[in-house]
């Protein structure tokens, strides 16, 4: 506890490029960019595979591999391969780990929509794209958001680990603190990361309420 007071109580830790606000911003920025790029890759692919039913095997393999891949190993290997120094290569492992959960959940969400519903939608005269966007996506939204949430949490955690290979962000406090035996800084960084993860979790809960139809989440009270 004293270590924490020491870390958060030091004025120098609150300003400058290695201050908490700057590090936090960096962390959020990297995570957001990685998540966004992952979404751009995974959501259309998941929608396509789920809607057409073609390529489901890809998804299953991706899901299993992603779970078994050791994050640290992947980060280290990719950065060594693409080159040390610049921060952008570090985004590659973050994306590699964020794509599978989004892909899998989008695919499962779309594929899991009841057959009858698809049938009714086509039977009403909706075209393929309309069926996907107006019916399947809204109904699959809770699962798609779950995938995004898992990916976001994964990204925040991996970005922390990636500080080891030079990425900025909150992980720096942990890695640098470990290297210099500065435990207050290490612990402070860990607490900040935990807080960020909780905020992400909370953010998604709010987002879920905002965008999922009450008819799907069954949140309306039955009178």
């Amino acid at each position: 506890m004293n270590w924490l007071i020491e870390f958060f109580g030091t004025a120098a830790n609150w300003s400058g490029p290695s201050g908490i606000p700057a590090r936090l911003l960096e962390h959020v920025e990297f995570s957001a960019v990685a998540l966004l790029l992952s979404m751009i890759i995974a959501i259309p692919l998941g929608l396509f595979i789920g809607h057409t039913g073609r390529g489901g095997v890809v998804v299953v393999v991706a899901a299993n591999a992603a779970r078994a891949l050791p994050t640290l190993g992947l980060v280290v290997l990719i950065v060594l391969l693409v080159g040390v120094g610049s921060t952008w290569p570090v985004l590659a492992p973050l994306i590699a780990l964020a794509v599978p959960p989004i892909l899998v959940n989008t695919y499962e969400g779309i594929r899991g929509v009841e057959r009858d519903l698809r049938d009714a939608a086509y039977g009403m005269g909706l075209r393929g794209g309309q069926v996907l966007l107006k019916v399947l996506v809204p109904v699959a939204l809770p699962l798609i958001l779950l995938g995004l949430r898992i990916a976001a949490i994964q990204v925040v955690a991996t970005a922390t680990v990636a500080a080891y290979v030079g990425l900025g962000g909150l992980g720096r406090y942990i890695i640098d603190g470990l290297a210099t035996k500065d435990f207050p800084s290490t612990l402070g960084g860990a607490v900040l990361v935990v807080a960020l993860a909780l905020l992400v979790q909370l953010g998604f809960a709010v987002l879920q309420r905002a965008v999922v139809s009450p008819g799907v989440s069954r949140r309306v009270k039955s009178r």
């Binding site: 009858d116 049938d119 039977g123 009403m124 005269g125 909706l126 008819g215 799907v216 309306v220």
Partner: protein
């Protein structure tokens, strides 16, 4: 008019779902496809709106091959109702009903107004419009499904086992509702069911299909009951065909004796002239015994027979549409009518007049609560 011309559906694995089906679905009437599972009835239905395309043959909708029409355009002009209602869970009831009008580009206000009108038309409380499907009972959801299919006022309605997932009481009331709507709207309806009683109750024409997608017989219900084409059809129709056929013979021709007395019994009335029971003759304050009534203007011979069988006198009480006493039909008169019915060559024109069937369990059937 929908015409099937030598339609065959064969799947990649060699199974034949529909085998060389040729039939006509007349405009403005209900045609029921009925048969056991695997008989291709749903496949046949789904070929009309191109949810499935036939392997051979063609289907004409008012002389246009449906294959020539782009499927979404075709489907927007054909109402489609399925078993599990298929309502969109993320949309409120009113927007579910307005789906096709929205697709056709109606403005939102007009589409919603139309949806509200339809909700009322299918017997739903307009207060339900703002709810989501999961907040409705199965029967209510099915009504919404029907309203949604009718939203853009399509001339043709396809109904794929729409009532088979609800309990018998709700099913009966949905069936009544459909008959009432159909009397008003006169759509061309193709209705698929595995329930022969439902087929007989709803169909102007019934097509019986057998496993493998063969058409076994197509006829109006009375003919079907009287003259099944073969053992399969007879077996599928089940027992009591003779009695069930009476549902299609109107009771209007029965001779009424206007007096309240029959040998040994008399009809007791309340102050509004409504029958309240049979009483033994000469026993002024004696106990009231059970009775049955029928309305000769609407009911069938079956309802009249049923009314007679309920009474100790063996006579049926006729009432007017207001439920007031209109006369008595004696057992002898009934006997004669039954004799005529069984001897009579079936005249399709007459049976098509479609006396209201009075199947058991039908809440609106002829006999009043005694």
């Amino acid at each position: 008019m929908i015409t099937f011309e030598g339609v065959t559906k064969r799947y990649g694995d060699g199974t034949v779902a529909v085998d060389n089906l040729s039939l006509q679905v007349p405009t403005g009437a209900v045609t029921v496809f009925v048969g056991p599972s695997g008989c291709g009835k749903t496949t046949s239905l789904r070929m009309i709106n191109r949810m499935i395309d036939p392997s051979e043959g063609r289907i004409l909708l008012d002389d246009r091959d449906v294959r020539a029409i782009d499927p979404p355009t075709l489907r927007r002009g054909i109402g489609y109702v399925i078993q599990q209602s298929g309502l969109f869970p993320h949309r409120k009831i009113v927007d579910n009903v307005a789906t096709v009008p929205y697709l056709l580009g109606w403005d939102k206000k007009k589409a919603r107004a139309r949806a509200m009108e339809l909700l009322e038309r299918v017997g739903l409380d307009p207060a339900l419009a703002g709810r989501y499907p999961f907040q409705l009972s199965g029967g209510q959801q099915q009504r919404v499904g029907v309203a949604r299919a009718l939203a853009a006022d399509p001339p043709v309605l396809l109904m794929d086992e729409p009532f088979s997932a609800v309990d018998p009481v709700v099913r009966a009331s949905l069936q009544e509702e459909l008959l009432r709507l159909q009397a008003e709207l006169q759509k061309t309806i193709v209705f698929v069911t595995h329930d022969i009683d439902e087929a007989i109750k709803l169909g102007d024409t019934v097509a019986v299909l057998r496993v493998g997608g063969h058409l076994a017989q197509i006829a109006d219900p009375a003919t079907l009951l009287a003259e099944p084409a073969d053992d399969f059809v007879a077996g599928f129709l089940g027992k009591d065909r003779g009695i069930r056929r009476l549902s299609f013979i109107p009771a209007s021709k029965l001779r009424l004796s206007t007096g309240r007395e029959v040998p040994g019994w008399s009809v007791a009335l309340d102050e509004d002239d409504r029958p309240i029971g049979w009483r033994a003759s000469g026993d002024g304050d004696g106990p009231l015994r059970p009775f049955g009534v029928f309305d000769p203007a609407q009911d069938s011979l079956r309802a009249a027979l049923d009314a007679a069988l309920l009474a100790p006198s063996g006579c049926a009480i006729a009432v007017d549409p207001g439920g007031r006493f209109a006369g008595v039909v004696t057992r002898e008169t009934l006997d004669e009518a039954l004799g005529r019915a069984s001897g009579e060559a079936l005249d399709p024109a007459r049976s098509a007049a479609h006396a209201r069937p009075a199947a058991g369990g039908d809440p609106d059937a002829g006999q009043a609560a005694g």
